[in-house]
Amino acid sequence: MHVVYPVVVSALLFSIGVYGVLARRNAILVLMSVELMLNAVNLNLVAFDVWLRDRLHGGQVLTLFVIVIAAAEVGLGLAIVLAVFRTRQTIDVDRLRALSERAPGEADGEVRS
C-alpha cells in the first residue's frame, strides 16, 4: 500500500470537515463536521503507524484514545447544545451573538435574553 493513498484521502476528508464547520449554521451539523475532521486525523495516524511499523503501536493506540475523546466531546457538545436550545430556543450559530463586540440592539435583539 502506497502511503500516499490513505494520506491524501485523509487530507481531503479534513478539508471537507473544515468546509462543514465554516459553512453550516446548525450547531449539530457543526459537531458532525468536527467528527469528520477527527476521523481524518485517525486515518492519518493509522496509516503512519502501519508505515513506520511502530513496535509499541503508538499510532493505533493514539487512534483509540482519539476515538474515546471524540465520544466524550460529542457528549458534552450535545449537552451544551441542548442547554443553549433551552435558553435561546435556537441552535443557529449565526444568531448566537451574545458574546460579539457589537453594540446592543443592532438587529439581533431577539437572541439576547
Binding site: 500500500m1 468546509y19 459537531l31 463536521s33 449537552a79
Partner: protein, 179 residues
C-alpha cells in the same frame, strides 16, 4: 520502510479496495456537509464512518476498525440523532442549514485541500508500507495498551468520568447555580 517500492501502476488489490472505500468515504462526507435534510446528514455520516472502518481493515488495523464501528457508528451517531430530535429541528427539507459564507468556506476548504495534497504527495510519493495481517489485531494492541500506554489509558478513564458528570450536570434543569 521505503525499500522496493513498486510503481503506482498497476495498483494492487488492497490499494484498489482502499481507493474505492476512500471514494465512498469522501462522497458521503461531501453529502454530510451539503445535504439539506438534517437526519440524512446523520445517516450519511454512518456510511462515511463505515467505509472508513473498511479502510482501517484494509490497512490491517482490525481492532481500530471494530472500535470505530462500535463507538462511532453505534454511539456517536445515535447521540447526534438524539440531539437532532431533542432540539426539535425541522425534519425534512430545510433551506437554512447553510450560512451566508458558503463561498468563503468552500474557498478555504479548496485552498487547504490543495496545499495539503501538494505537500503530502511531494513528501510521501516514494513511501511504501507493505501490509502484513495481524499487526493491528486485538492481542498486540491490547498488550501495548496495558503495558506501555497504561497511564494515558487511566487518565482517559478519568476524563470519561468527568465528561459523563459534566453532561449530566449540563443537561439537568433542577440544579441551580450558587446564588
Amino acid at each position: 520502510m521505503t525499500a522496493q517500492a513498486p510503481g503506482f501502476w498497476p495498483p494492487s488489490g488492497p490499494e484498489i479496495i482502499f481507493l474505492l472505500l476512500g471514494a465512498v468515504t469522501l462522497g458521503s462526507a461531501v453529502l454530510v456537509v451539503t445535504t439539506r435534510q438534517l437526519v440524512h446528514a446523520a445517516l450519511w455520516l454512518v456510511v462515511c464512518f463505515g467505509a472508513l472502518a473498511g479502510g482501517y481493515l484494509v490497512l490491517t488495523a482490525e481492532f481500530v476498525a471494530w472500535v470505530q464501528v462500535l463507538i462511532y457508528v453505534g454511539a456517536v451517531v445515535v447521540l447526534l440523532l438524539f440531539g437532532i430530535m431533542l432540539t426539535r429541528a425541522p425534519i425534512g427539507r430545510s433551506a437554512d442549514l447553510d450560512s451566508g459564507n458558503t463561498w468563503a468556506a468552500a474557498l478555504v476548504a479548496v485552498a487547504m485541500a490543495a496545499v495539503l495534497v501538494t505537500v503530502l504527495v511531494s513528501g510521501f510519493r516514494m513511501a511504501y508500507a507493505p501490509l502484513d495481517p495481524g499487526q493491528g489485531a486485538a492481542k498486540p494492541l491490547g498488550s501495548s495498551v496495558f503495558r506501555t500506554w497504561v497511564l494515558p489509558f487511566e487518565a482517559l478513564s478519568v476524563l470519561l468520568l468527568a465528561a459523563l458528570i459534566g453532561a449530566i450536570v449540563l443537561s439537568r434543569t433542577d440544579i441551580k447555580g450558587r446564588q
